[in-house]
Amino acid sequence: MTDIFDIYLLEAMVNGILLGGVLALLALGLNLIFGVIDVTWICYAELVMIGMYGMYYMVQVFGLPYYVAAPFAILLVAGLGALLHLLVIAPLLTAPPINQLLATGGVLFVLQSFATVAFGIDFRNLGIRMPVLKLFEMHLSYSRLLAFAAALIGMLLVYFFMKRTYIGTAIRAISQDRQIMALMGVDTRRIYLITSALGGALAGLAACLLVLQYDIHPFVGLSFGPITFLIVVLGGLGNFVGGFVAAFVFAEIISLGGLFSDLEWGYVLAFAFFIVMMFIRPAGLLARRS
């Protein structure tokens, strides 16, 4: 009896790691935007939701193959990210940070209710059934493996973009010192726009991956949005590595908590863990206590 239990435990742990990949992708997007523009997009998960609807319409209604539709969905959400910056964040750049945050909260309402009005509240799915991989008696779905691999590749691409290109270097420099970079001849407005589009693109990639595992409905963002914020805060806002580590920590807690009880208790555990960690390490997992 004990070894069967261990297989379940192992399966839950592996699934946790696979979930962590997608969460890390979302955390990276939020961290990128926070690190460079110093705003938090409360509506980030709702951008993902719009991307998921985009995938649904392209695949189910227009009959595009999944791999053809995915780049379009990524472009769509990248465009949304840029639009969000131009319409909402740019006019508020000099306003108190709280106002920027609340404005994106308003965008959250807009996107959710837009989806309700435009697409209805029915649950939809892509109707793509991915086979299940059996490995040492564990059942792992290909959709999760694909999501994990694609998330890792996406993060690697962002890493090389940041390290190897001029724009990437400028982005990293701006996140270190916002004032000086403008004096160094970097067009901050352009960099902000590119960063927003990049953050949107990451949300779009996450949408393509999550659409394989979740049903789509206007409020689907709420099932992974809050957890993404917790991850980003726990990792330390703007701390890329911290966010990456925290994503896997949270995914494991949710996955293992869900194994022993309901999925909600996994979330409750994760939230409780988060609050305890705020006592111990208020500036983030990897921060040094000063």
Binding site: G106, L111, Q112, L222, V233, V268
Partner: protein, 321 residues
Amino acid sequence: MTAKQSLPWIAGAALIALPFVYREPYHLHILILILIWSFAYTSWSMMGRFGLVSLGHGGFMGVGAYVTALLWNHLGVSPWIGIPIAMVAAAILAMIVAYPCFRFRITGHYFVLVTLALSGIVLQVITATRDYTGGSLGYTPDRTKGSQIWALQFDDKVTWYLIALGVWAVGLAIWKWVDRSMDRYALEAISEDEDAAAAAGVNVTWEKLKITVISALMTALAGALYCQYQMFISPDTVSGIAVSLQMVFAVIVGGLYVSLGPTVGAVITILLAEILRIGFGTKAVGWDNLVYGVLLVLFIIFLPKGILGSIIDRVKTLRKA
């Protein structure tokens, strides 16, 4: 000056007299909702006006509503005892989350996101304990036969109107009390510059904790009242991030820095929702929030002081000129 001083008393008398003159149930219902939510929004802005933007108030409201209803249904505890217990529970929850935040100087984005986690927890706990709370399907306090003061259940809307009016007035009184206290200056100093305030001898953690606990107590009361009046609560209507954002939105629209701002916000948002609901009928699902969201964004960009705040500013500059 006497005309200005007597104005609140006249307005108050008119508000008390209203239900005895005018008894249209639907309009009274809307008024009661406006008063209860005004009180909730006022509670939020107790903190919000000092730069302590919390998205955890959905959590406090959920605790207020659910603790009261659960005590009544499962243990038969009267809401008269249950509501204070629920308020204390919310205050304890507030302290557990707020103390480390203030102690370790978690401000701005961090504070917003930590409190966001709080309303997330409350929502998930209510959903997860569905054997007791009914989960996302909602929960109804057991009904008594007819109106019972002991059970805080009344059939007629006039009683509820007067209760809601009283609580709302108490909310405004607390606002005034804070406005006149020394704590207000301390908290304003803190919201400008924490280090400077601390250097000037302000106990930053203690001052913030006080206002947070007051705010949480009031919000829990609003939740409990809402539950007792509507006799139906669900995790989505009294807890969670959506409710927290709804509070922020209404306060921003009305005006964050004036005592009647949250009330104006409640009037505008509830009337807007009702008009949209009647105008669009069942198609309204989503439209009200769509308009809300667009308005919220526009307000923050173009009118960050809110409607009432901007009007008062305009009047003041006109008088000076």
